[in-house]
Amino acid sequence: MIRFEDVSVTYDGATAPVLAHVDLHVSEGELVLVVGRTGTGKSTLLRCVNGLVPHFTGGTLSGRVTVAGRDTRLHPPRELADVVGVVPQDPLSGFVTDMVEDELAYGMESIGLAPALMRRRVEETLDLLGLADLRQRSLLSLSGGQRQRVAIGAVLTTHPKVLVLDEPTSALDPGAAEEVLAALQRLVHDLGVTVLLAEHRLERVVQYADRVVVVPGDGEALVVGTPADVMVDAPVAPPVVELGRLAGWSPLPLTVRDARRAAGPLAERLAPLVDEAARRTRAALHVIDGEPALTVSDVVVRHGSVPALRGVSLAADRGEIVALMGRNGAGKSTLLSTLVGLHVPQRGTVSVGGAAPATLRGRELVRRVGLVPQEPTDLLVADRVREECAASDRDCGVAAGTTRAVLDRLAPGISPDTHPRDLSEGQRLALALSVVLAAQPPVLLLDEPTRGLDYSAKQRLVATLRELSAAGHCVLMATHDVELAAEVATRVVVLADGEVVADGPATDVVVGSPMFAPQVSKVLAPQPWLTVSEVAAALVAAS
């Protein structure tokens, strides 16, 4: 269905090719997962499939890409619209109309299908993706998962043979991600659509893939194989696979279900070690008792007439890492913005470092609390990293070079002349973090820090958060990433509908929760293990 023959891509002005001598053949009805670090050329590979590279992006493509027998050199993207459907990374940026039903019809209108046929296909697609209730809704009013499903539906109506998706679940909460993946699964099974999918969150998708393509970057050859084969020695792997490697299971399990069937002996070995591990976890905490770093009591915040927080109370000490979880729209971001004074509570009090954040301005604020927003780029203002650091030193009123020093600790080796937009996602997050940390705020707030991060960048973030906690910072992060929460959080707070529904140590809250349990916990339940490293440490200590 898709055939790459000796394809190399070099963008204009670049010295080295992004992709070099790629040979790949995807047959009809396959679901192929494309993985690799940020900036290795995954997106380029995906964009070659419908000719956006090089027709839209520019650059030089040598070799041949054919889709359903059509050569992309001779067919620009619009002529391939009836065979390839491309779902962009941010669905909102690709919407042309303003209503669900019109959006579904847009592609069909462009290729000139008959009105009766369009009508039928829109109805079919609404049913297929469970969108029938939303048909008259405005696109801006949809939740993240709904938007993603509409974006998939919008390209599906032209009945493409190939569907290309770039990180479809990275911005979604676990429930919405399941929704989207279930829809994709259905397309592959029932309609025989060929799917090419790039995703960082392997734990969510690897079990659905027929084959995995690893893009190593730097012009090295692709690694292609079945998920089990590739995962045996892949540098990045979901926790369930790492657990399998640790326990030496063969064949390597890819799903929680397979792993649980193999986990009997491991669970027996681990059962006597639970108490010892819990003691060790407690000992590793750096919580500093005394005056809490932040307190929120009985806070009510409204957006217009819609209550976003209904009486939330929360306190956190220095040295704690609190994960704030809950579905999209549960009030997580609102709580974080309230803590930096962007919303004034209608009722209740907020106090950060002994002051109400809404009354603080300028340096007064940044020395007490720092927030890294969902899109770290928002925080960056300058054209070069050097100027960004200098501006941050001035803003925070600290000695010149402070921000750069923080940056070098978080992500060494960033050239001061780089434009912030040219950094990788991980580096950009590090830069935004340094800008915030330069003022040494005792309270650090993070909104979805792992969005778009690959595994290695995530590991670095985990290490950074632990350091900050050890240094006495209080970290509060809103996240959908259950594995991250399991890894670093000392406490998990679950919000639903603007209320706190659970608040306690990570083990107590996430074990047994169908949505928020990490994979290791699902495999070894009811024992309270959260991460592979915990299990590994317990086994080492016991032997």
Partner: protein
């Protein structure tokens, strides 16, 4: 109640009324408003427009603009009155107050700043302001009743590209507002001031950058979804289409100019206009052939659309005719000030426009089915029948 009568209004199935029909209706009311300075008639027009908006407004973000336009109208009246008070010449006998007069140089003779303010000129200013405000309210009503996207979707194929550009611009506007808010938030988080001119200038670049990035993303998405696919059309047809379009535009411009300019005889203007229109229409036809686009669920133009348009046309025609036959009926006396009277025929014609709220089908929406059942009161049904 007969069985063969077509279902109208509440008894018809909910569907979108053709946006063109709402615009014809609203422009008809606006035309009527432009013909009178009678405050009662003007208030009646606003009331009719507001009532129909209330009845047939869909549940969408753009349909809440009526109130905004009403407020804009009040501002217009206020500005009008203020300017009259300050710059007015003080015509009339009932002086209300006297502002300190600023002497102006000789070359500005005819303009006076300050001086006596009379009831006559203030009343006239209020009436004239009301005319503008009423016309604004009519435009606001059209905006609330007809989805701008659906209106643009009904443009002819040759203008399709322009339509898409406008739709995209309209969806970008709310996102831009969101961007500005995000950038201001970021400034606060950096410990900078989030108010004042400096903050505004500092946020222009990031917002523009964001908009540009989104535009590129959108262009890629549209290209991938088949935007701009063209059908096989010979070069001759394409060129003659463009040439005729150009000719048409030039003809229409010259024709309109000749008609409006009193110096040119009407015998020149009218034919130019007609030829220009004809050339433009043929050109559009030919240019439209290139597109292979089809329309998904186009809004039909059926009986309700005819009736809605007629509801708007009746007051327009009535007031034009009355203003020609008997100009004084529609003008309220300001010198000396007098209570406005209520001319019966124009008032009846304006009230007729309210029928649009009965004959137009309900717009579809999430709550349509439930609302429909709840509002089936017998009195409404009888009127609709």
């Amino acid at each position: 109640m007969t069985r063969t009568a077509p279902a109208l209004g509440d008894r018809a199935l909910p569907r979108w009324t053709h946006p063109g029909a709402w615009w014809v209706w609203a422009l008809g009311l606006a035309t009527a408003a432009s013909r009178t300075t009678n405050p009662i008639l003007l208030a009646l027009i606003v009331a009719v427009a507001g009532w129909v908006v209330q009845r047939r407004r869909p549940d969408a973000p753009w349909s809440r603009s009526f109130a905004v336009f009403l407020r804009l109208g009040l501002v217009v009246i206020g500005i009008r009155v203020l300017f009259t008070a300050v710059l007015g010449t003080g015509v009339g006998q009932h002086v209300i107050l006297t502002l300190p007069e600023v002497p102006l140089p000789d070359w500005m003779a005819g303009v006076s700043l300050g001086g006596p303010v009379t009831a006559e000129e203030l009343l006239l200013a209020v009436y004239e302001g009301m005319v503008l405000a009423t016309m604004l309210a009519c435009i606001g009503a059209a905006n609330s009743l007809a989805s701008p996207a659906r209106l643009l979707a009904s443009v002819p194929a040759a203008l399709y590209e322009v339509g898409v550009a406008v739709v995209v611009a309209m969806t970008f506007a709310p996102q831009l507002v969101g961007d500005v808010a995000r950038v201001r938030t970021a400034r606060r988080l950096r410990g900078r001031s989030d108010r004042g001119v400096g903050a505004f200038l500092g946020s222009v670049m990031p917002v523009l950058e964001g908009a540009l990035e989104r535009a590129v993303d959108l262009a890629a998405a549209m290209d991938s979804r088949g935007y701009g696919r063209t059908g096989p059309v010979s070069r001759g047809v394409r060129r003659s289409g463009s040439a005729l379009l150009l000719l048409g535009v030039v003809g229409v411009c010259l024709g309109v100019y000749a008609l409006l300019d009193g110096g040119t005889p009407g015998a020149v203007g009218l034919p130019l206009l007609v030829v220009g229109l004809a050339a433009g229409l043929v050109g559009m036809r030919l240019a439209g052939r290139r597109g292979i686009r089809t329309r998904y669920r186009p809004d039909p133009w059926a009986l309700p659309e005819w009736l809605v348009s007629a509801c708007g046309a009746v007051p327009a025609v009535t007031l034009i005719v009355v203003s020609v036959l008997d100009p004084l009926t529609l003008v309220s006396a300001t010198a000396p000030p007098a209570w406005p009277s209520l001319p019966v025929v124009p008032a009846a014609a304006i009230l007729l426009a309210a029928l649009a709220g009965f004959v137009a089908p309900r717009p579809p929406g999430p709550g349509t089915v439930r609302d429909d059942a709840a509002s089936r009161r017998p009195d409404l049904e009888e009127v609709a029948a």
